[in-house]
Amino acid sequence: MLGQQFINGVMLGSVYAMVAVALTLSIGVLNFLNFSIPGLFMIAGMATWALIHAGVAWPLAILGALAITAAVSLVVERFTWRWLRGAEPFVPLVSSMAFLLLFEHLAIAWWGSEMRVLPSLFAGTDWRVAGFVIGVPQLVGLAVSIASIFGLSLLLKRTSMGRSLRTIAEDSDTALLLGVDVNRLVPVVFALAGLFAALAGVLFALNYRQVQPFMGEAVGLKGISAMIVGGMGSTWGAIAGGLVIGITEVLSVGYVGANFVDIAVFGLLLLILFVRPTGLFAGLPAGRGGI
């Protein structure tokens, strides 16, 4: 029972972790708390449902949802970043919040506000290993999250683009004077963050098979918490934070009761921050967990 709960917690935690990685990319490189990311998570989930509902084969539906969400993230870049350059620092934050609300209400207008249920695509494919039940989408989802986060850290660490992103993260004026084309890289950051939010949304939709226009809010709040608990700006911290929250949440549902979930989760977060105010992984040098 405990082991099964733990597996479920890791799965939920990996969704939070991916949202936290998306937020971390934006904060770490651009110093921008991008509130549209929970909205992008929701768009990916709703689009997965809508495409499958419209009869699109599930692999294409997944690709479609990822592509749509990344494209929407680029639109967000235009409005919150490019056209507001030189504005006060909180202006992009507020306009990204406006995007979250806009997305939610567009989703209601388009798809309605009720809970939508995805068909069970992978019924009967569950693995039973040593008494544990592991769903194939769970397993594949976990593998995809690990691979994509690993890929991101390789990109940041080993490639010329990664070095440029880390330089922008430290000081964008220095990046500019070294000849980095910052305006070309900012959309890349938005697209990457959009993709991570989208992967989380697709995984959520396929695993929990329920989506609705406000699904981003709770997950976004936990993603932000995961990022802060992990230590702002550190990708590995975001992952650790996401897993801690996911596992705590699932275990407290099982052992304390559904009414106490948020008390357990956020109580633990406060405790961690009380002991380590800078978060679990704060202050890691760039390229080794830091962005």
Partner: protein
């Protein structure tokens, strides 16, 4: 002319940091830019590189009108800045900082050779190539900033106060490297320096800036001989650096 700026104007709100300034550099020259604090030296260099927008004026570099070019296009063309305060990226290793200098280049085998050449020139960097740049001393950071600029395949290297904050011995060492780069590779250099005397020793020509304008320009030797001019406009205790009568007579 490798670089030609005409009637350049830089403003920050109502502050006119550079006022209708014109300046030329021929290939192979070392040109010093002198001036008191706030004279507009850094603003001039930043405007030449396109980091700070020039409100008026033209900049031509290597046969092109680059006035409307982005900074990254100017860097690719070989116009490179070693900035005030060095601006080393502390989150990267020494080698990664050098690679940032080469970031715009595609010829990776040439880049590898040049990285090794930088390490030969600055052995202190070679010993720490895979260490975080944050462990470097001030002098080593300045060497790294120069090495990083070299990796960009510069045609013109602009240096903004490279000896700032260094001991006199290290400052001399840095300026000697600058002179060597000019002599060995014919690299053209635009040098903003507070250490007026040393700057004039290695420069061929100089500009004296005051309130964003060129007060005087000419061969470096003429400036070096005119102590009253330097005392009057630089006001940084140049008297202390003036040779004693005993030195003058020998």
């Amino acid at each position: 002319m490798l670089l030609e700026a005409r009637d350049l104007e830089v403003r920050y709100g109502s502050v006119r940091a550079v006022r209708g300034l014109s300046l030329q550099l021929a290939p192979g020259e070392i040109v010093a830019v002198l001036g008191a604090n706030g004279a507009g030296k850094s603003s001039l260099l930043r405007a030449l590189l396109g980091l700070t927008r020039a409100h008026a004026g033209k900049v031509a570099f290597d046969g092109n009108d680059v006035t409307r070019w982005s900074t990254s296009a100017r860097v690719r063309a070989g116009l490179v800045l070693v900035p005030e305060g060095r601006r080393i990226v502390m989150g990267l290793t020494v080698q990664e900082n050098l690679l940032m200098g080469a970031g715009q280049r595609r010829d990776s085998s040439a880049v590898q050779t040049e990285i090794e050449q930088v390490y030969q020139r600055f052995p202190n960097l070679a010993a720490r190539r895979h260490a975080s740049a944050s462990v470097l001393s001030g002098g080593e950071q300045q060497m790294l900033a120069i090495g990083r600029a070299l990796l960009a395949a510069p045609k013109l290297m602009m240096l903004d106060e490279p000896s700032l904050g260094l001991s006199p011995r290290l400052a001399n060492e840095v300026l000697a490297h600058v002179r060597d780069l000019n002599r060995e590779r014919g690299l053209t250099i635009l040098l903003v320096e507070q250490n007026t005397q040393r700057a004039l020793e290695i420069a061929h020509r100089a500009y004296l800036l005051e309130l964003g304008q060129v007060l005087r320009q000419g061969p470096a030797a003429e400036f070096a001989a005119d102590h009253s001019l330097l005392d009057a406009y630089l006001g940084r205790g140049q008297a202390a650096q003036r040779p004693t009568p005993a030195q003058l007579t020998t």
